[in-house]
Symmetry: C2
């Protein structure tokens, strides 16, 4: 007998109060939602998450740079608010803190990514949440850490610059390289989720929650720090080496007639396979290329020989010839092609998104949950706050038990 | 009364059997160790983790490209094996599977990063671990997922090429950019830790463990997928834009006399601040730059004006002037400088490492745990397998209860 029901998601039964905006915070709560937590996104009734204003939009006429119709939705919002419920709450209105405390009492986790100090000033910081619910795990995502003196907006490009990451890519004497993936915005939330889940594990022992504090600068700098930059410098080895790494030669990215390929032929057997694929097996006997040490010593000549060959052939041909010789090789693909790789789509690592009302107006793909479980599923509930406060009734009435009169009063007073 | 004792680490009491090698897998178990789990690293007695052979090394004479003395240690190993115990076990020797099963019975988590299918073939796959301990959470890290047909070594540069990431950085028509951070090797383990902790949370409900399966290609492609590449293309907006993003102009990295700075002045108030910092406040009235839309439409002219100014000044001067106007700005720093930022060191996001016997022979820094907890600490026990099997007695005798005779027999048979 086969069980055809969908397995549970690993974080089912946990509830998240989501105070986040823009990218870093919403990506953290997106991961929690995809792992099965119930996420309640709070937005200011007077405008909501700024990501709602990010171009491009999608709607009845497909993708557009400007908003054409009232029900056009920013693709950023469509992708980042997946699976979340949306309620409105104006923290500057009297009474909002009571509503926030009521939400905390029902929840396990709070996530915020205001500038350091702002949540406390708004009366929705960790101290307030813990007072309402000592079990709460309260995660703050900020540019430089919750303990940083205030000021200094932490945009992705600012953090990339400070972290050293921009001087890890590119040729040795070239300008720095801005990474096209918003890596500072994306990496901190991944560590935030680790921190939240680790605090949950500790709560099973201690019975109480705590504050989890992740810095964008710290998360990205820790990644930069895995390479031994100062040791390489101390040993006189170049650290920033562009498309290839000559201390491992042949290793890196090489030009073809119609694009680029990545090739790794560090070891003896692989180098010989490469030379056969080049139809120049004699190179294996050439004293410049006969041993690993000599290949490294003569890396510029070796790279020139490879490029002189690869440049005459299409990417597909170079890949086919090297694969036939068992040499690790891959085409350098563009994002659109990579996102549509059947392997990646089949595992849910990228996923389709569409406007709920106009599902056939585009072929958009976005980030999925890149983790597979043998006894659990991942994925997003079919819920999304298209309008601000779309789920006010589900949350304030059905979850918190507020009656119609109270809801009306809160609405009239501009609290929700 | 102040409690001056160190708070517990969040994952204390959990035990990890670590079958990993190279970078991706060891970084996953490094994060678990830093969060307080006990990690037992298993190495083949006939050679151990290949990262032990990574140049540069550190020893009594400081940092060197080649191993000069018997007790020189690869900096890769020093940094990745921190806080781990090390035992030897040759899985190809008869009897090794019994030892592995005994280890699984004492453990909560197993992590491996063999090529897909290899762990099963060696008799140390999930099925074997679960048979020994149904509560075990068994995490596989691989290039393309545990379900991928075999073959194809998944080096970082191969995965970077396939993921589309290389065509997100750099100028629109420039060659692809290899990221200098081994981002494919680093990102998959972060998701592996999320998967492991989510499965732990589910185990509190279900009582049983499961298999967690993370693909390097999937993890990195999901990051690439957060930007709406195909929507930008459909809307006719360039996606790959080099050092600046003209659709947000002025935004990006600009040249100074002695380096580069990142500047973000997207909004009205910030653009005016920038013009004042440039001592050209009249630009705010220039019809080309007077509104956000006009600045975007005339982005090349605006960037030329900024660069003509910034190029004449030192980085420090540009930063000081923009900070005085409240405009987000940062110097583009080199990794060495970034790793030594007092903010980052103070939060343990980068940490010193040293050879245990020659602690003063170098000033090396490496990755820390970029998460701060209010009721927990992070960090690494002062344990490290300098030699293969350094902790055989602690683990095989004290934890598993093997007696001296059995240890001798296992050693004589080449099992450990």
């Amino acid at each position: 007998m086969t069980d055809t029901s969908t397995p549970p998601r690993p974080l089912e039964g946990l509830r998240v109060i989501d105070l986040t905006r823009a990218l870093a915070g919403p990506y953290a709560t997106l991961l929690l939602a995809g792992l099965g937590a119930e996420v309640i996104k709070i937005e200011d009734p007077r405008g909501g998450d700024l990501a709602r204003e990010n171009s491009p939009y999608v709607g009845r006429d497909g993708v557009s740079i400007e908003r054409m119709h009232d029900d056009d939705v920013s693709i950023s919002h469509l992708s980042r608010a997946r699976g979340k419920k949306g309620v409105s709450l104006n923290f500057k209105a009297p009474g909002a803190q009571t509503v926030f405390a009521d939400l905390c009492r029902t929840a396990d986790i709070v996530v915020e990514n205001f500038t350091a100090g702002t949540a406390d000033r708004l009366g929705i910081g960790y101290a307030v949440a813990r007072e309402a619910n000592p079990g709460i795990i309260y995660c703050s995502l900020s540019g430089f850490g919750a303990d940083a003196p205030e000021g200094g907006k932490a945009m992705d490009v600012i953090i990339q610059a400070l972290s050293g990451a921009m001087y890890t890519s590119g040729a040795p004497d070239a300008p720095p390289v801005r990474m096209g993936i918003p890596i500072a915005d994306m990496l901190a939330p991944v560590f935030a989720v680790i921190g939240i889940l680790a605090a949950l594990e500790q709560r099973h022992r201690s019975g109480v929650g705590q504050h989890v504090d992740v810095s964008m600068l710290g998360a990205l700098t820790s990644f930069v720090a895995i390479e031994n930059w100062s040791a390489l410098a101390a040993a006189g080895m170049p650290a920033r080496t562009g498309l290839t790494v000559q201390r491992l030669s042949p290793f890196g990215v090489f030009e073809c007639a119609d694009g680029y390929v990545a090739i790794v032929a560090v070891h003896e057997k692989l180098a010989q396979g490469l030379f056969r694929a080049m139809r120049q097996p004699d190179l294996a006997a050439d004293p410049r290329f006969a041993t690993r040490d000599s290949r490294v010593a003569n890396a510029p000549a070796l790279e020139a020989a490879i490029t002189a060959w690869s440049r005459t052939l299409a990417v597909d041909e170079v890949v086919a010839r090297l694969e036939a010789e068992g040499v690790p090789v891959a085409p350098v693909r563009h994002p659109e092609e990579a996102l549509s790789d059947p392997r990646v789509m089949g595992r849910g690592e990228t996923m389709p998104i569409a406007h709920p009302r106009y599902p056939h107006q585009s072929e958009l793909r976005t980030a999925g949950i890149p983790i597979r479980f043998s006894a659990a599923s991942t994925g997003f509930d079919a819920t999304l706050p298209i309008g601000i406060g779309d789920h006010n009734r589900d949350v304030f009435r059905d979850l918190l038990g507020y009656d119609e009169e109270r809801l009306r009063a809160l609405g009239d007073a501009g609290v929700i």
